[in-house]
């Protein structure tokens, strides 16, 4: 319906429209706290469970820690990130959004920013909780580790926001989304776990993990372009 070249799509995204949608979603979520509460509860419980079950193994092999932490984010994200579009679909407001002159790229970007805000909120609470519960011996910069996690989560929300629209009209969408997400996310999770391990366990600095950071960034950029090119069709009925 709205065909553009890739370059013109990037040019046409209005930051004002994107932030308007993201702030609407954040305001609505802060009022009900439906999604964030469940995501926090789930991720907190997961950290406690993992620390009881695998705490001793992580103490002797700290490399496992980053993988477990990412598992918590992955499961938590799959639980809540798809809601951004599903909720609009269930309430019938998705049609209202599609009727506005907002481009599909603006809608996707707005939803991705809202999802990123959710994940950053979770990350800010769960990451310190993880360190405490696992009694994790941090060797490197905690700020850098937080940055690597944020970058990984950025890629995660871009992919999950885009893919969640693909399954909007499917009957078992809650079951379908994780099945589609996992293989697509595999490269970024492996890279992010590797970078996180090198910082947390190896005590390495920014320059040492620059290769991984470039891969995660490139992944985020490529996925954003693919999402922008396909999102128009995903939104159609």
């Amino acid at each position: 319906m709205r065909r553009h070249t890739c370059a013109s799509q990037v040019r046409e995204v209005r930051l004002k429209a994107v932030l308007n949608l993201a702030s609407k979603d954040i305001r609505a979520e802060l009022r009900t706290k439906h999604t964030i509460n469940f995501m926090l509860l789930f991720s907190g419980l997961a950290v406690i469970f993992f620390s009881r079950i695998a705490g001793n193994y992580v103490a002797s092999a700290p490399e496992m820690g980053a993988g477990l932490l990412w598992l918590v984010f992955l499961f938590t994200g799959m639980l809540g990130l798809g809601r951004a579009f599903v909720k609009e679909k269930e309430l019938g407001t998705l049609d209202g959004l599609k009727l506005t002159p907002m481009s599909s790229e603006e809608i996707l970007a707005g939803k991705a920013i809202y999802n990123l805000a959710l994940m950053l909120g979770i990350q800010s609470i769960i990451f310190p909780l993880f360190i405490i519960f696992f009694d994790f011996p941090i060797q490197g910069s905690i700020v850098l580790a937080f940055g690597v996690l944020t970058l990984g989560n950025l890629s995660f929300v871009i992919v999950s926001s885009a893919l969640s629209t693909l399954v909007l009209n499917a009957r078992a969408r809650e079951l379908l989304l994780p099945v589609i997400l996992l293989p697509v996310l595999f490269p970024v999770i492996v890279t992010s776990v590797s970078a996180l391990n090198r910082v947390l366990v190896g005590g390495e600095g920014f320059l040492n993990i620059l290769g991984e950071i470039k891969i995660i960034l490139a992944y985020a950029v490529v996925m954003s372009v693919i999402a922008a090119l396909t999102f128009d069709f995903a939104l159609e009925e």
Binding site: R27, T93, D95, L99
Partner: protein
Amino acid sequence: MHAIELRGVKKRFSSLEVLRGVTLDVRRGEAFALLGPNGAGKTTLIRIVATLLRQDEGEVRVAGYDVREEAQEVRRRIGVVSHNPFLYEELTARENLEFYARAYDVEQSRVDEMLEKVNLVEREDDPVSTFSRGMKQRLSIARALLHSPEVLLLDEPTTGLDLKGRQDFYTLLEELLGEGATLLMTTHHMDEAERLCTRGAVLHSGSVVAQGTLSELKASMESLEEAYLRITGEGSET
């Protein structure tokens, strides 16, 4: 140039042919009723005109713009009110309108104007979840009119409204018609069509089976209801 032009519009959902070459025109400034039984294709037609669905064949133009090729231009010129008000229940009436005003790039002062127009100033800071169906529908009209659209598409807008809610809604639409708005509305209520519309078409199994002024549709019959039942063949069952 007509406000809405449809030429040979066809739409199929897998094996089901929902629209079979619909052709009709809606003139500027008129209220046009789209009548027909459930499953006739009325909602599908409105969704195509509103750019929410793509037709398989045929041409649809709104204010001269093609709904497939110039969807963004069409969206700037239409307002849609359906039985679903497209409102966010957690947000207040004002916050809903402010969100849509920003999405349409409309001055925020327009929000005050619209709240006043639909008589919701006193409830502007209440969450929409506390509103009655009639109030939500009035707010939905305000949302649809924020950007001063040339064409208003109404898909069974009074579904679920009580008598008072319907009367308020009609009064609001009559005001809009007085201001020169173009209306395309689907309805099951013949009284609604007769009160608001000057022309109409009867859609049956995806085809236009009758079209003209409402008095032409009634022709020699006693009421529009009787004409409708005879045209759609539903009268034989009664």
